[in-house]
Amino acid sequence: MIEATGLTKRYGRTLAVNDLSFTAQPGRVTGFLGPNGAGKSTTMRMVLGLDRPTAGDVRIGGRHYTELKRPLHTVGALLEAKWTHPNRSARAHLRWLARSNKIPFTRVEEVLGLVGLADVAGKRTGGYSLGMSQRLGIAAALLGDPQVLLFDEPVNGLDPEGIAWIRTFMQSLAAQGRTVFVSSHLLSEMAITASELVVIGRGRLITQCSTADFVENATEATVRVRSPQADRLRTLLASRGRTVTEMDGGLVVVGATGQEIGELAAANGVVLHELTMQRGSLEQAFMQMTGQDVEFHTAVAPAGHDQAQLEAALVTAQPGQGRTES
């Protein structure tokens, strides 16, 4: 288990991490989510005792990292895949790590097999692809068979196959009862991988909750309906107190289930051409939540486009405003 309390890191005048408290529990994948520059890597380094917190502290199983004897048996970490000497072989890299924590060399061969690098273990790591380096980093993290695992942006720059492999791998590690703490700036990725989320923006905690709750609260369920008798349907729904918006030649209904709309239409002889459940985009919700907490705002067109979509979403969510009828 990882516990951070009031964790703070200041570089000169910048507060990289600001009074951050969270926990990562064993037996599940905890996603550490935030935009680039939110302080995720700095937090990871403080967990591992590489950077000294300005204030607060972080403990692993109740102890500071630097108090651990042979820490690789307790914590395994992948911070940066390319942190190997390019002229050293993968086997030599794992061997010196193993030796430092009195791990037998047979374990080196085991983890090499586990991540599928056994055939290229004798080759210099400078020639490795990003995916291979990532696998080597994971092998290094698993070397001491630790109960706590930290991965910093493990899927960055990987191809879909590599991403799927790492996702499954992390979930299987959690299923074995380990604590898996994985950072990412991609909400869509975390929504699939993690069951718990720690969301930060600009070094501050925004929320810690289950992924399901986050998705539930952050986005709103709507139903899209198309009908040749749209006006009649709209009046029927409005009379029941449902919020209806016209969008792209169809209706978007807030606060009603597909079943309810279907039955209402049948009872009143309204023909339906489409009845689709919709969820607001996770990315939009994420931007909305961390909106004030993004370090580098983009000031150009694409952001404006997103902003328009976001406003449209907000309008539909509030009855009695904009183009809604009630």
């Binding site: 970490a77 002229n87 030796r99 430092s100």
Partner: protein, 256 residues
């Protein structure tokens, strides 16, 4: 002990120690052979003179030792090292010991090889190792090379960048000590040269040798402050260890 094994694996799983060793051997033995072949009345030979190539080789030793630590910063393996062993002092001392032992052996072997080849080529009885000073001039290279490892790792820890650390070491040893300070001394009528660490290191080899007086690796200085070669070696080692200690203290305080 396992930390020494860790650093040994690290050092010998890259190529730099091998080419550094080969280069020191080539230069040390080659220059020793050349000098012994061309020696004359104007250019007398002696045991310390056969070690001229070791003086040049010392710069390669400094480079190897500096790279041993700066490459860890460059490639980020220092973070893997500090996460595997949070006791940074223990790790850095182990690394220094391993590099110092390697360079000490390289210095020792090269010194005897250079002397041996020179003796075979020249054949002069002057080159026989029959005084303690002559033994010191050859066997002492081992101690000096270990000292180079210590000072270079200290500088590497402070600078953390390969180019910066090497430039600092070489500019200091080649430009500051042999050109800038002597000129300042002459101009300002001072005698600060005798306090320079690498001049003292050289004096450990060439002290008391008639053939190199005033022009050996100890430079133009003849009045070193610490009473003879062993005082000079002690002074050089003290400075090397001091630089290393500062480097380790800084590495402890700094975020990795």
């Amino acid at each position: 002990m396992s930390l020494l094994a860790v650093e040994r694996i690290k050092l010998f799983s890259t190529r730099s120690p091998w080419w550094c060793t080969a280069l020191v051997l080539t230069i040390g033995v080659g220059l020793g052979a050349l000098i012994s072949a061309v020696s004359s009345a104007d250019f007398p030979i002696s045991v310390p003179v056969t070690q001229a190539g070791l003086g040049l080789g010392s710069f390669i030793a400094l480079v190897l030792a500096a790279i041993a630590i700066t490459s860890e910063y460059r490639f980020g393996t220092i973070r893997a090292t500090f996460t595997a062993v949070p006791n940074r002092t223990a790790v850095l001392v182990a690394k220094t010991v391993v590099v110092a032992v390697l360079l000490g052996l390289v210095g020792l072997v090269t010194a005897f090889a250079a002397w041996g080849v020179a003796y075979l080529i020249n054949g002069s009885p002057i080159l026989a190792l029959d005084t303690t000073g002559e033994w010191r001039a050859v066997a002492g290279e081992g101690l000096l090379y270990a000292g180079y490892a210590i000072i270079a790792i200290g500088v590497g820890l402070l600078v953390r960048q390969t180019a910066g650390a090497i430039a600092l070491l070489l500019v200091w040893a080649l430009v500051v000590e042999t050109i800038v300070v002597p000129i300042l001394d002459a101009a300002l009528k001072l005698s600060t040269s005798r306090w320079l660490p690498f001049a003292n290191a050289g004096n450990f080899i060439t002290a008391g040798d008639a053939a190199t007086t005033g022009q050996g690796r100890g430079g133009a200085v003849t009045d070193y402050p610490f009473g003879g070669p062993w005082g000079s070696l002690g002074y050089f080692m003290a400075i090397a260890v001091a630089v290393l200690v500062i480097g380790i203290v800084v590495a402890h305080r700094r975020d990795a």
